[in-house]
């Protein structure tokens, strides 16, 4: 097996006062050395899927699966110590909210250099140089100034790129990116995507790209998984998203505002209760 990740029948459950809430309901997929997109409406379980793979679901939430392996390790039985090692050396996750995930009392520069130094033996000067290089690579203007700023002193899009820099600097085999470019203007977005693209093409990194931006995902990814209510309703080859057949996917595509063709009102999705009940589509390789 050369898949980086294999997941079979994954559930993420949260006990609530109205009983158990199933955020993810029995999905199966694998990740090769590819760019796998996960799209779907808000609350469909995209982030919980990403977090579950790295066992980052906070209790009382819990994960169940028939199989969950990452680069050969059985994630289900791995100890927290093993998971920490896995997360550091093999897999990184760019969280949906950068400012929430950055340490508020540590400068940007220190956070990036520490991320690097836990994985590689480099001295401070080298680490600083690499961090500045990385900030520059993610199109941060004036890296020297930003290096010494605290997270609350950077803009939304800068925070997002700092998080990306921090996660890419240890050179992971697997990157799970949860809405990594949602706060970026299109031109910076293209630059950031190019970096990720390069890592996939040149180093064989596997990328899970979670996004609600359908156009972006269809241009950028190789395969797309479409989630609804905790299940996978459709799997598409990228570039063929316009051939999607599920009414939910089509509804999502139709609700995007387009600069070229203005409309009075945007189409909104009409949800069919049957979508929720249909069995999950497998996205295994």
């Amino acid at each position: 097996m050369s898949n980086l990740i294999d997941v079979e029948n994954l559930w993420v459950k949260f006990p609530t006062r109205n009983g158990i809430f199933d955020a993810v309901r029995g999905i199966s997929f694998s990740l090769g050395k590819e760019r796998l997109g996960i799209v779907g409406e808000s609350g469909s379980g995209k982030s919980m899927t990403g977090r579950a793979i790295l066992k980052l679901i906070r209790p009382p939430g819990r994960i169940e699966a028939d199989r969950l392996t990452m680069t050969g390790t059985d994630v289900l039985t791995a100890s927290e110590k093993e998971m920490r090692k896995l997360r550091g050396h093999h897999a990184s996750m760019i969280m949906q909210d950068p400012k929430f995930s950055l340490n508020p009392v540590m400068t940007v520069g220190r956070q990036i250099t520490e991320a690097l130094r836990t994985h590689e033996k480099v001295n401070m000067a080298q680490a600083r140089a690499r961090a500045l290089e990385m900030l520059d690579a993610v199109a941060i203007r004036d890296p020297e100034r930003v290096f010494d700023l605290y997270p609350h002193e950077v803009s939304g899009g800068m925070g997002q790129r700092i998080m990306i820099a921090m996660m890419l600097i240890p050179d992971p085999e697997i990157l799970i990116a949860d809405e990594p470019t949602s706060a970026l203007d299109v031109s910076v977005q293209l630059q950031v995507l190019e970096i990720m693209d390069k890592l996939v093409a040149e180093r064989g990194m596997g990328l899970i790209f979670i996004s609600h931006d359908l156009n972006l995902v269809s241009n950028f990814c190789d395969r797309i998984v479409i989630m609804y209510a905790g299940r996978i309703v459709e799997v598409c080859q990228a570039g063929k998203l316009h051939e999607a057949r599920h009414p939910y996917t089509i509804g999502l595509l139709n609700s995007v505002p387009n600069l070229g063709s203005p409309r009075e009102r945007l189409d909104v999705l009409r949800r069919d209760p049957a979508w929720r009940e249909a069995p999950s589509v497998s996205a295994l390789l």
Partner: protein, 251 residues
């Protein structure tokens, strides 16, 4: 037409002396009552800072700002917040982790002297497309998009005249985005609200706004009408580049 927002020569800086950096430099713009105005531009170019300056959240600025013909000084009073509400870019940081949705909304309603809190909360949640089931949840029990809708509901609570919207839908999926944008369109039509809206999505700005200002490194480099934007009639190289990249990313 009355001007809802009038800003001239706004400069905002952080740090003093050698450490001073100007985040916003001599920005001027005016927005008529009932208009919707878009602010786009490079990440880090000062868009949020302009909005934060209006709401009194930056320490040092110069120039002048007027809201509904009233000049703004150093402090903002309660009448200001009754008129002007902001939806922040960052829905996580803007909701208190230990407050339920119910507590967030009832606090906002009480602060502005509303009665009939119970019904109003239900209405607000419905307006932003969240059911009653979300009323007693904490922020960590909500997805990113659900939190953003709570933030929008909170901003709508005092029934403001002006909404400052900082990337209000960038955390939302396209279907919820469509619902929120339609909601904002309806509210503006019904109540004559004024919007100043930051977004990096030119499709969204084109859909929502009549005029668009483009920012780069703290300066406003171009002001253009939405028709010109659609027709790609930009004059500044950065605006051209932005429109061009936007086309490339949609393809």
């Amino acid at each position: 037409m009355t001007l809802a927002i009038e800003i001239s020569d706004l400069t905002v800086w952080f740090g003093e002396g050698a450490a001073r950096s100007n985040a916003v430099r001599q920005v001027s713009l005016s927005i008529g009552e009932g208009e919707s105005f878009g602010l786009v531009g490079e990440s880090g170019s000062g868009k949020s800072t302009v909005l934060r300056a209006i709401t009194g959240l930056v320490p040092s600025w110069s120039g002048s700002m007027r809201i509904m013909n009233r000049p703004l000084g150093a402090k903002r009073d309660r009448t200001f917040y009754k008129q002007v509400q902001m939806v922040f870019q960052d829905p996580y940081a803007s909701l208190h982790p230990r407050m339920t949705v119910d507590a967030v909304l009832s606090e906002a309603l009480k602060l502005h002297g509303f009665g009939d809190i119970d019904n109003r909360i239900d209405r607000l949640l419905e307006d932003v497309g969240l059911g009653k089931g979300f009323r007693f949840r904490y922020p960590h029990q909500l997805s990113g998009g659900q939190r953003q809708r709570v933030a929008i509901a909170r901003a709508l609570a005092p029934e403001p005249r002006i909404l400052l919207l900082d990337e209000p839908t960038s955390a939302l999926d396209v279907s919820v985005q469509a619902e929120i944008l339609n909601l904002l369109t309806d509210l503006r039509a019904e109540r004559g609200l004024t919007y100043l809206m930051v977004s990096h999505d030119l499709g969204v700005v084109g859909h929502m706004c009549g005029q668009v200002a483009v920012m780069q490194t703290g300066e406003m480099v171009e002001l253009l009408g939405v028709e010109d934007m659609r027709a790609m009639k930009a004059t500044h190289p950065y605006t051209k580049h932005l429109l061009d990249s936007s086309l490339r990313s949609v393809r």
